[in-house]
Amino acid sequence: MGRIACILIPDLPIAALLRSNPELRERPVALCANPAPHAEVIAISREALAAGVRVPMTAAQARAIAPDILIVRRSPEAERSAFEALLDVSESISPLVEPGMPDRAWLDFDGLARLYNHSEAIDPDRPASESGAEAAIANELKRRAHRVGLETTVGVGASKEIAYLAARCGGVRVIDHGREREFLDWIPIEMLDLAGKPGGDLELVLARWGIRRLGDLARLDPRAVASRLGTEGLELIRLARGERLAPFVPRRRTESIGETVELEYGIENLEPLTFLIRPLLERAIERLAIRGLVAGDLTLDFGLADRSRDQRRVTVASATNEIRALLTLITLSIEATPPAAAVEAIALGVEARSPRPAQAGLFTPPTPAPGRLETTLARLAALCGPDQVGMLRAQDSWRPEAVHLMPFDAPPSFTADAEPSPGGNVTRLMIRAIRPAEEVEVMCDRGAPEFVRGRSIAARVVTLAGPWRRDGEWWNGAGGGFARDYYDLALSDGAVYRAYRDRRTHRWFVDGIYD
């Protein structure tokens, strides 16, 4: 019979949150699927439990009971990364690991004791008995998990199920060979988490039968149970008797394309850093290329001289294997925010993507090559700041000059307005906008403009239309908002202008010329 270990992250959602936000460790925290007050709490920290919060209260109830509780949205990313870290830890001990999403992994412990008994990594003073050695390895596993920010429990036993149940008991627990029934007899039925599984009322049925522990179940006649509870019941009995053995299926994790280099000295300048990154990138791209893949987003993880890390993600809008383009993006990223200290280690990760063949339209204007476009945008962002680059789009507003910045995209094609507007079938005048609007002096007679004088205008009003009143954005406070009376003014210089009077300051502006 083989030996299997199970490493488990109890209460994964909370553990993952605290791993990524260690500053929350002392606070009462509750996780919800969404921020709505009626969302149910799905996990809580120890401090929240102590404050009286329970699952599945609503967020509002939790707040009523513990006013200082922090309600946080559950983060599947944090949980995934905690799970990845768990696999890393597992693989650092045993070559054969079976991932058990989302919170556990099984490790083949067979023979590991002999291997580690000779290793100095394990406490050399401990007796060399097999279970002692297994416990030592399990403890090492737990220690390593702690180093990556995970509090885990480890169980070792003859099967996956026994190892898992042993891990559920907390700490490190090794079930010696031949003592499995003794251990299982004691296990409460709730530990099997039957509630969420198919045939989920099994837990209720067993509770009503007065079956509290696996030992109670093991004593029942399997045939009688099978005739009442079907296959699920029979399987439970086999489990209770230590007979059920789910196969151990070690799996290789998805190969990540990553390259690292550790330096004996720190690098402070960009040029040598780029010089070192280049071969890493080339090797990674080569690995991708032989599999017919291309590079998507890049991750850079710099180990710095002050023992800190600098991790960054470089977005690649159009997946490519062009080394030059990718290297430029990396350079620009480092240029924009240089690492805080000298770099001593570099880990490059490359997201593998399938290449997407694209056929340009025959009648569409040529667009810049994606790689070059990306590079140019990155250059501009490095120069002006990432919030200053993009394209301006007219905002849906009654204020004509209202615009907002969008990420740069292909120029919009011309489309007809879907909704008719009043006077929609009138031939439209084109207006050339003056940005910013030019302040002018307007002489009026009984409120109507008569003469306009500005930096480039000085003419008499020949005819006018208006006022057309526009006001709004009152919610932007006293300084925000606008209230204007617009006029279309045909002046004696032959041009037709759009001018407005700010009704709050009584100043006049010209903001457009009709073509």
Partner: protein
Amino acid sequence: MASTTERYVELRARSAFSFLEGAALPEDLVDRAAALGYPAIALGDRDGLYGAPRFYHAAKQAGIKAIVGAEMTLEDESRLYLLAPDRERYRNLSRMITASKLRPIATAAQSKAVGQSNHGDDDGRTSVFAEPPPKYPPKDGARLQFDDLERFGAGLICLAGGVRSPISRMLMRGEDPLPLLERLSAIFGRGNLFIDLQRHLDPDEERLNRKLMALAEAGHLPIVAANDVCFSPAGDAPASGLGENNRALLDVLTCIRLKTTLDGAGRALWANAERYLKPAEAMAALFRDLPRAIAASSEIAARCSFTLKDLGYRFPDYPLPPGETSDSYLRVLTYAGARERWGATLDDRTRRQLEHELDIVARLKLAGYFLIVWDIVQFCRDNRIMAQGRGSAANSAVCYALGITAVDAVKMELLFERFLSEERGEWPDIDLDLPSGDQRERVIQYLYRRYGERGAAMTANVISYRTRSAVREIAKVLGFPPEQVDRLARLARAYEFRDDRDDYVALLKQGGIDASVPRIRMLVELTRRIQTLPRHLGQHSGGMVIAAGPIDEIVPLEPATMPGRVVIQWDKEDCADLGIIKIDLLGLGMMAVLETALPLVREHSGVALDLAHLPPDDPKVYAMLQRADTIGVFQVESRAQMATLPRMKPARFYDLVVEVAIIRPGPIVGRMVHPYLDRRAGRSPIVYAHPSLEPILRRTLGVPLFQEQLLRMAMVVAGFSGGEAEELRRAMGFKRSTERMSRLEQRLRTGMARNGIVGAAADEIIQSISSFALYGFPESHAASFALLAYASAYLKCHYPAEFFAAMLNCYPLGFYHPSTLVKDAERHGVTVLPIDVTQSRWLCTIENRALRLGLRYISGLREEHGRRVERARADRPFRSIADFAARTAMSRRELDALAYAGAFSAFGLERRAALWQIAAVERDPQSLLAGVEPRSDQPALPAMTRLEETTADYEATGLTTGPHLMTHLRPQLIEAGVMSAAELTAARDGQTVRMAGVVIVRQRPGTAKGFFFLTLEDETGIANAIVTPTLFHRHRALLSGAAVLWVEGVLQKQDGVMSIRARRFARIDVARGAIPRSHDFR
């Protein structure tokens, strides 16, 4: 100036009753119109006449004409604005709206149901509806069709301009609208179709206007000026940066409607703030190039002669026997009833009272109304539905004689004039309490049948924003992030800041929010403003109107959310103001209990009880009430009532009337409870704020407790007329009463000063009156409730088995969980038998003087299956579990629940043995193995302990007939020096005691300054504990969550009322999850 004012009339206005499309109350529009010197103004809300009554009343008060109209949405989402020039056209408009709202939509289910047997509606009711009620489009989904226009449109005045009209839309699309124009012209008639032009300083609109003018010329149609008013000036000049009008509020409403934020709404908001009611001169200036458009507005206004005064509502006539008039027939029925009530010979006082009332009824021509109500009561009696009138009708001896009410107004010396008075000249208000549930629905459906589908309808209920929902919606619109929206809303919940903005600001500061931030200021201000606006229309809980003709000629009807119901577009206040008769049919759980209990008493005790003839002033009943032994007793079972009863020591019926009325927010907030109790106990002298009040307040020892007393006080001390006193009463029961009350207060003070009542005495009287503003209880109403309280107490005292069986059958109702009711029944000597499949029916029954629990208490068991058990057992008794399973075809889960509850014990099976067997039986009745006994393999399952049995009872049925949970813990509790609830009665005041029990009620009332109240139950009874605010905050989690609690504190005893002032607490972890949840109040 006068000439322009005469010439322009605003014909197109929308109020907040165009839900989320208007930001002005109808009254605000009228006030502004009156201030601007308009002689008339029209209101046309979207798809309805919702705001018309309030608009009409405001206009009547302001002395201007209120023109009625509506803006109707067509199928293509375009809109036509229609005005009613006369009564006939008004009726057509109302019917047109109804036609669009009540157009059934054919559903697959309905077409399938045709030709099939009736299986009831969605709610599973099978007895109420003869056939499935039709389904209608959702709210806001109703659209007007051209057929409707053709049927009802003739003679209505139509304004077909504005950006939303179908004509304008066609023009904007570049289509030719002339054919449509001709069709509309044919529908409304030449001279009734106008093109209205609007000028809001918008260039696009002006381009449209030019096209509309050209079209009007081509079609020879008149034009008219309008301003499409949809908001009003805000009144004061707010420092919130929202401007001087309510445009900001309108923008917010638009965003709420479009489910967007102000930043995201863009051009969905109006381009400027020109849509307010402008001075006539300003409108004339805007249309100075088109004086005929201005003139047309006043010409149209002059043509519209209809106002809601001419509604033509008529109450239905009662079909009379030949040779009888309404008055004579009412007299016959009254005296026939009187002989039943008071015996064959009537004493002089009673006869005089009846004659007096009949005389007033005849003079007010109300005999028909009484006959109709009598008819409803008669229907209830014929169908064994208990009905009892409440409200001011209980002041009438005629109502008592007719069986409408059960309070003997003669004996109680109730004031008939409170019910009917010649001076007031308005319809009386008769409310009928009916058993809640299907019985009440049967009465409602009877009225629909009797008066026709369009002859009866429910009244509406206008729902306004509450602070919390307003803050939530506005904060979202202002773009606050979701977490902050939630936080702001939570802060708002704690405090109703309608009247005092500063305090809310302080609260925001306490919550860590900077209240000086402009957006927060806006939030506060907008929340204040929005709370006065209607949000949507709901259905009133029981108000029905009936009419002689179709109601939809009086007011539009629309479907209610509940199938088979239609509602009118006006609320009950509007109906009362317009003289439309409303009958309240209110569902009352206790009526259902009494209705269920009386036949049980008849059957099992051989006593035919009649509510009206219960032995009066039964000493045993009053002894029980004085002991506060009132679990299950109507109105006096709450913790607060129980704490008052031993002090009050009710000894006669009127004491009970006072008891019902005194524990109300009005008397509590008005600090009237303790003075009354002290005076009653002789601890303080009976004094009157003014000697003139003595005759009024003598019965209540100088303390005003009832609305009637306050009215009389106003009449005596301030010289109010009957009408003014009535206005005061209406203000008291009226949601929008704050302002009205403060106006009335001023009048009261002036009146009192005239009579020399000033200073403290005046203040005391004012305080008495204003504290009743929202929660005053009329004496007649209290008397009706007291009657039910007495009846339920009587039943509990003398027929506890029947009473508790009825309570359990009518649950949910009242204060206490069935588990508490069962234990209380046991303490009253009732043997409660557990559920047994060989005996139990679906409902609880009486079995050899014992109460047998019904199958309805098995959690998860469907009624249909429970009834199937009854039927199968009627065929032949069940032999075994296998036989039971085969003949009832229940699900495994249901069988398990029955076994777990011990319902198979009659087959000689312990619960776990039954569960073991159930797991092996064949459940499919068609199977060859159906009914075959499973192999008798003996299970290795352990038998249940007594505690496990109790827990199983709680889990499977929510209650136990076995030992109380605390019985199992008693040995340990005794060791720990914990007393039982019964032992506490022997302990002395001030003694430190320990008590433990299941928490059945938690309460933190707003009137108790943060104190927290717990009611604990053990096997001997219940006990109360009080927790100080400080301790509550410290142990909040424990006190709010623990199901079983150990409490230590000082015992307080006063006037026989006992409670523990708790100092220490601990959770007792037992039977977690199985114990029923406590009844928690905020």
